[in-house]
Amino acid sequence: MSAMIDIAGLSKWYGATQVLKDCSAAIATAEVVVVCGPSGSGKSTLLKCVNGLEPFQQGRISVDGVSVGDPKTNLPRLRARIGMVFQHFELFPHLSVRRNLTLPQIKVLRRSADEANAKALRLLERVGLSAYADKFPGELSGGQQQRVAIARSLAMDPIAMLFDEPTSALDPEMIQEVLDVMVGLARDGMTMIVVTHEMGFARKVAHRVVFMDKGEIVENAPTADFFENPGSERARLFLSKILQH
């Protein structure tokens, strides 16, 4: 079976500095992969290459068989099928929660207003925020905003979801509510790449853990192996630091 997301020999430079070095990984349909590693190791950059938000110079990435780097690829159409959740939520502050969910459906997927609205309400229900449809993002807590952001991505019926440190800007008491939504998604069979340092989440739902350092994928192992017997010294060091907290 071919992978949902296939990254092969990916290298990327910002000017003269190389930030991704020959990265390869394959993520199968319904697989959940957690990506971790020290700050500046290239995790965010890797995610942004997957949906073509950042160009790359070498290697290839394909998502559901579509080549991301191919100049002939319709990137907006591909991105519409890949959900992305950001550290700072990035809800559109001038739009109500409902409009945040319906606008992309209407403008990008050309759904009717009624259809988009019905979908929005279903997803708000799923993340437990039906009562907030007509609030504005600024009136919500961080955890609620992030759940809305996840619902906004889900409204596009994505074939895969990318999360870039979705809980690291949240107050501790709000982390769990967001993780719960993500666990639900994983259990429902969503294909997910999650950059996070929430190792509890990784243990619970990740099929594999990818460890990055200095632009390289140092480790790509089944979750249990990664935690019990990390193959590299760098991963061991990172784990001992992060698990102390």
Binding site: L53, M84, F92, P93, H94, F136, E139, M156
Partner: protein
């Protein structure tokens, strides 16, 4: 100083034989307002386009945008008025140039274009700064949802930018109104021109310019008030500005 004050001069007939001086000042006010409104519309449209160009990922667009701003911002408004009014018709093919020169209200059209483009360069700078002040993630999130770059600008970046920029745009509108007085040099009979005409014929210089000053102040206050109302209408519930972006991303 033995100046002969005469406040009733406003109700005397002006040399045109039909209007009182007061009526001529009102006509001038109307020209000032219509010229400013048209010029500001042009300034907003062109300023937005150029401001957006300067924030796109395309280097040709950025260069084109900054060339535009440099040209229209750095040449004095008066010179630009003269160029559009006196020089442009000579550079065009004869027939077109003649048609331009004979256009009735040519000074009005010229003033609108010259003032509009001059102000558009200033507004382009505001728009550019406004867009760049938004968190980078807003653009990324729009694109990640599958929006094209024009859609991201139209539905996400510009609506926020205009809200943030309402106060500075208000002062650019006030500047446009003040700068419209320069159009008297190409013969537009706007408010300042009417005050000067009144002063020339009646010799009541203080009355004429006191009246003009008061009218400008009233316009200024009305515009400021109206923009406050707009600002209030566009207030976003719960919005306190964007959080400072975290380091390292």
């Amino acid at each position: 100083m033995n100046y002969h004050w005469n406040w009733s001069i406003f109700w005397e007939l002006s040399p045109d034989g039909t209007h009182t001086y007061f009526a001529t000042l009102m006509l001038g006010t109307a020209w000032t307002l219509i010229t400013s409104a048209c010029a500001f519309t042009i300034a907003l449209v062109f300023g937005s386009i150029v401001g957006v160009l300067r924030t796109t990922p395309y280097s040709w667009a950025m260069r084109l945008g900054s060339l535009y701003v440099d040209v229209f911002r750095n040449v004095p408004l008066l010179v630009q008025m003269f160029l559009w009014y006196f020089v442009l018709p000579e550079l065009l093919p004869q027939a077109l140039g003649d048609w331009l020169k004979q256009l009735s209200d040519a000074s009005f059209y010229t003033a609108v274009v010259a003032l509009g483009l001059y102000m558009s360069a200033r507004i382009a700078e505001q728009i550019r700064a406004g867009i760049l002040s938004l968190p980078r993630g807003q653009r990324l999130a729009s694109l990640a949802l599958g929006m094209t770059l024009p859609q991201a600008y139209a539905y996400v970046l510009l609506p926020m930018t205009y809200r943030i920029l309402l106060p500075p745009l208000t002062s650019e509108l006030l500047n446009t109104i003040k700068n419209s007085a320069v159009a008297l040099t190409i013969g537009l009979m706007e408010l300042t021109a009417r005050a000067r005409a009144m002063q020339e014929f009646s010799f009541q210089v203080f009355e004429a310019f006191t009246a003009a000053t008061i009218i400008y102040i009233v316009i200024n206050m009305l515009v400021t008030f109206a923009m406050r109302m707009v600002e209030r209408r566009l207030t976003i519930p719960g919005y306190l500005g964007f959080k400072a972006p975290a380091v390292g991303h």
